[in-house]
């Protein structure tokens, strides 16, 4: 019997959430005023949780390291948000969204959580529209949908290429309303540096004011971490520069188990790396795969010619192109899930067909979409459908309407016009499915400490489908946590305010100060970025899109060595009582250097391939991920003083409502 109790309610799948809501304890409105909740992170999960808990009457303190809650990295999500509304009448349903998500996650997620997610997805759309989120609409004035990878229906709601920003601004507006009413106290430019545990319960945090350097104690009856994912362990990723694992990692060190750290999503459509100076990778929305076709040349001689500049991609004849996704996966074609598309790109590039100087790029081509749309428009307008120029011009217009902002972004970065020549793309680290282990109530293994959104591990299994991250963040914050946290807080109505002058706070603050002092006074010779880049190289080369036992073992050693070198030789300029970005970065990289090791250890433990975790030793003859039945569990790691000594716990996964079979997109 595992020590992990997922607290999944009894009863039929479809009734679990309703039944659970009916059974859990509530806090009466007068008592809510006596209860404080700390929320760290103000993205979709944190922002929506803060707003909702404040609406309910709790006293909320919200923290973010950005200068405004509106800038959390949820803002960068482009494509859309899934919901089983079935507005298109194409056969969608709660069950189908549940099914697609479990299958997309390669049967490594919890049935009950995913079903609940699918169930509340429709409420999210209603809620957001009521808040004034300007989703895309059709001419009739009703909401428009589009399709995303890994599914056969159109259930994705979107706001051009910036769905994330619009949803986040919705949550931010809801927060602002509560800040204006005094129910949320907002601490922007503050970073959480430790969780304070009193009598086994999370009772507060230690935070640093990033402007003044002041170390502060904040107490509460419960603490929610909505601090996002840890993909920046790879240095280069589509994450924001400030995204970090620090809050989650400190919680882990204080007793919260870390689940499935090796499940990382590598997004197939990002702009390729251009040089060593690169600080960040830019995503091109998955929605582009609705119309773009992915290919590389069929012949090596054409690849050579392209690399040395003597041939243009547009000059390669149709029969000399290898549309490898369409070839390998005729049913889903270019809309296979992200992990599948990424690996397929890597396979072609590893085989020597990469189309840029570094050999790490494939084409995403809109020429056929332009022709197809152009012909359609020419026909509608009664123009000559065989006039190439007319058709091309009309087609470009349509493509511009759909993806104009993305095309413009591409052109600004790469200096090539994607209407004329195919885009070049390559996979990049984009999302982490792993995170703090939580039960059905989103509580970690530390009582009173919750994790929501990307920071927890809960809903996506080994691979996340496109447009599901926004759905999960808002589901957790708006519709799940506000109920489940009440169940816990109902026992705290007589507790009264939590004092901060206790030995637990003393100890935590001392701990934080010691870490900072050490970094500031280290007086080494190398910058924080120097170490971060080296960590990123190890992670990408040995724990990236394809992993094997040898590499992972090497990674574990190398990361441990790098960590030691970091603590000996890092140089942090400036002082601690002032704005000091290098100091903040140093603390974050120190935590990545610990997490990285656990990451590799987890990947090594999992002797199978599943979703984003691909072990070269475990693949089918066709090169697809090969799951192993014995690994049908969640790995949850308990901290024991060092990453290398982490203790492995298993939460078995059961599938009663869905048949576990080979995940096929052919």
């Amino acid at each position: 019997m595992s020590i992990l109790d997922s607290k999944i309610p009894e009863g039929p799948l479809a009734d679990k959430w309703t039944k659970h809501k009916n059974d859990i304890n509530l806090v009466n409105p007068a008592n809510k005023r006596l209860i404080d909740v700390i929320i760290v992170g103000t993205g979709l999960a944190g922002g929506s949780a803060a707003a909702t808990l404040a609406e309910l009457g709790y006293n909320v303190k919200a923290f973010c390291f950005q200068d405004s809650p509106r800038r959390a990295h949820s803002i960068a999500a482009q494509g859309g948000i899934n919901a089983a509304k079935n507005y298109q009448g194409d056969g969608d349903s709660t069950y189908r969204l549940f099914y697609d998500t479990v299958k997309g996650g390669d049967y490594r997620s919890r049935e009950a959580n995913v079903y609940r997610l699918a169930e509340v997805s429709t409420n999210i759309i209603d809620q957001c529209v009521a808040q004034g989120v300007p989703f895309a609409r059709e001419y009739g004035g009703l909401l428009d949908n589009r399709s995303f990878g890994g599914v056969l229906v159109s259930r994705t709601f979107y706001a051009k290429g910036q769905t994330g920003q619009q949803l986040l601004l919705g949550a931010y507006a809801a927060m602002n309303r509560q800040i204006g009413r005094g129910k949320i106290k907002m601490y922007a430019r503050h970073e959480m540096l430790d969780v304070v545990i009193v009598d086994g319960k999370a009772r507060g945090i230690i935070a640093r004011n990033l402007v003044t350097g002041e170390i502060q104690r904040h107490s509460a009856h419960a603490v929610v971490l909505a601090t996002g994912g840890y993909g920046n362990a790879f240095y280069l990723s589509t994450y924001a520069m400030g995204s970090n694992v620090t809050a989650a990692w400190k919680a882990h060190k204080r007793g919260a188990f870390f689940a499935n750290p090796c499940y990382t999503q590598i997004h197939p459509t990002c702009i390729p790396v251009s040089g060593d100076h690169q600080s960040k990778l830019t995503l091109m929305s998955e929605s582009l795969r609705n119309d773009g076709r992915i290919w590389v040349p069929k012949h090596k001689k054409d690849v050579e010619a392209i690399r040395n500049g003597s041939l243009k991609p547009t000059e390669i004849a149709e029969e000399d192109r290898d549309y490898y996704l369409e070839r390998r996966y005729p049913a889903f074609g270019n809309l296979v899930p992200r992990d599948v598309a990424s690996r397929a790109a890597k396979e072609r590039c590893d085989a020597g067909y990469g189309v840029n100087q570094t050999g790490e790029a494939v084409y995403l081509d809109f020429a056929s979409a332009i022709q197809r749309y152009g012909k359609e428009q020419a026909y509608v307008k009664g123009l000559d459908v065989d006039d190439k120029k007319v058709v091309t011009d009309l087609g470009k217009k349509v493509v511009e309407n759909k993806y104009g902002n993305l095309f413009q972004m591409y052109e600004k970065i790469v200096d090539q016009n994607p209407y004329e020549t195919p885009m070049m793309i390559y996979p990049a680290v984009h999302y982490t499915m792993g995170g703090l282990w939580v039960d059905y109530n989103l509580m970690t293994t530390v009582p009173g400490l919750y994790a929501a959104g990307e920071a927890n591990f809960s809903d996506h299994g080994a691979n996340r489908l496109g447009a599901s991250a926004l759905m999960q963040g808002l589901a957790d914050g708006y519709f799940v946590l506000p109920y489940t946290i009440g169940d816990y807080l109902a026992h705290d109505i007589r507790t009264g305010p939590i004092p901060t002058d206790t030995k637990e706070f003393d100890e935590a603050e001392k701990n934080v100060r010691a870490t900072i002092d050490k970094l500031i006074n280290n007086k080494g010779t190398k910058s924080v970025d120097h170490f971060h880049k080296r960590l990123g190289k190890i992670m990408w080369n040995k724990c990236g899109m394809a992993r094997n036992e040898k590499d992972l073992k090497e990674a574990i050693t190398e990361i441990a060595e790098l960590r030691e070198e970091f603590h000996k030789d890092v140089f942090v300029p400036g002082g601690e009582n002032e704005y000091n970005e290098e100091l903040a970065k140093a603390g974050r990289v120190a935590d990545f250097l610990e997490l990285g090791e656990l990451f590799a250890k987890d990947a090594l433990e999992r002797n199978e391939s599943a979703g984003g975790h691909f072990r070269e030793e475990y693949q089918t003859e066709g090169g697809e991920a090969l799951r192993v039945k014995e690994y049908q569990y969640v790995s949850a790691w308990e901290y024991k003083g060092q990453a290398s000594e982490a203790v492995h716990h298993k939460e078995p996964l059961e599938y009663k409502n869905i048949e576990v079979k080979e995940r096929s997109y052919k």
Binding site: S48, A51, T52, E55, Q66, D67, S68, R70, R71, H73, I75, A76, V120, N123, I124, D126, Q127, V129, A130, Q131, G132, A136, R137, E138, Y139, G140, G141, L143, K160, Q162, Q165, Q166, L169, A173, A174, N176, R177, I179, A188, V211, A240, M241, S274, G275, H277, S279, K280, T282, Q408, M409, K412, D415, Y478, F479, P482, D529, F571, P573, E578, Y579
Partner: protein
């Protein structure tokens, strides 16, 4: 590869007077982004044991609105419709001198070097930039009210504002009207926003005035420099909403 002279505003903290300091940088690739060029400078400074230049940045893909550099006399630099993080060094020539300053406005006090405090924007939003609906999940079906596509699109265009503050920085009056009008317009164009329209515009404008932003004189600089191309039409709409709300009392 390019060699450049950077003239950068350095200011230790909000109480320091601050001044422009010259820094040469060498071997800059035209494929670098502007912020990556600053990264290069900062790495050099750190290696010399000096303090790096503090500047705000986060997503580095033009959507979070954090970066806020006044480059060669223009908000987000010489190109239009982009943020500083999307600006690439191919926009400059070998030997160029580049001025880099923080946003300048009384309502955006400098925190350090090139970083300013834009919480005045948050306070304006808190004064009314929302629709008062609780997150019960029991609102009506999202498709219950069809919204005319033209208005939905205009509301979206207004909502694309990333709150970077380029409008304030480039306005000769440091006026925040483009920012405020974008939010007012988004809600004014949607039926959901109508109920609170009167109070919203009055309260947001009141807060804007209290924060110490200047008045709009319709120079149109904000629209030109806005990385998201927010239209001046929104300011006209806000004026109209405000006047109607004022006369309504």
């Amino acid at each position: 590869m390019m060699n450049l002279t950077l003239k950068i505003w350095r200011q230790k903290n909000s109480n320091d007077k601050g001044s422009i300091v010259d820094y040469p940088v060498t071997d800059i690739s035209p494929d670098m982004s502007f912020l990556e060029m600053l990264d290069v400078l900062n790495q050099e400074l750190i290696e010399k044991g000096e303090e790096p230049v503090a500047f705000d940045h986060d997503c580095r893909e033009g959507i979070c609105g954090t970066c806020s550099l006044y480059i060669n006399g223009r908000a987000h630099g010489p190109s239009t419709r982009i943020t500083a993080c999307q600006l690439h060094m191919r926009s400059f020539k070998d030997g160029d001198t580049i001025y880099i300053e923080p946003w300048r406005a009384k309502a955006f006090p400098v925190i350090k070097d090139l970083i300013v405090d834009r919480t005045s924007f948050d306070r304006i939003q808190q004064a009314g930039g929302f629709i008062s609906v609780n997150t019960s999940g029991n609102t009506q079906d999202a498709n219950a009210i069809p919204i005319e596509k033209e208005n939905a699109d205009k509301a979206f265009d207004a909502a694309t504002c990333i709150g970077c503050g380029a409008c304030v920085a480039s306005c000769k009056n440091s006026s925040a009207m483009l920012f405020v009008s974008a939010k007012v317009s988004q809600f004014a164009l949607l039926p959901q926003g109508q109920v609170e329209a009167t109070d919203r515009v009055l309260n947001m404008v009141k807060q804007m005035d209290e924060e110490g932003f200047g008045n709009c004189t319709n120079t149109g600089a904000c629209e030109v420099e806005c990385p998201k191309g927010i239209s001046l039409e929104n300011i006209a709409r806000m004026n109209r909403e405000y006047l109607a709300a004022s006369f309504k009392g």
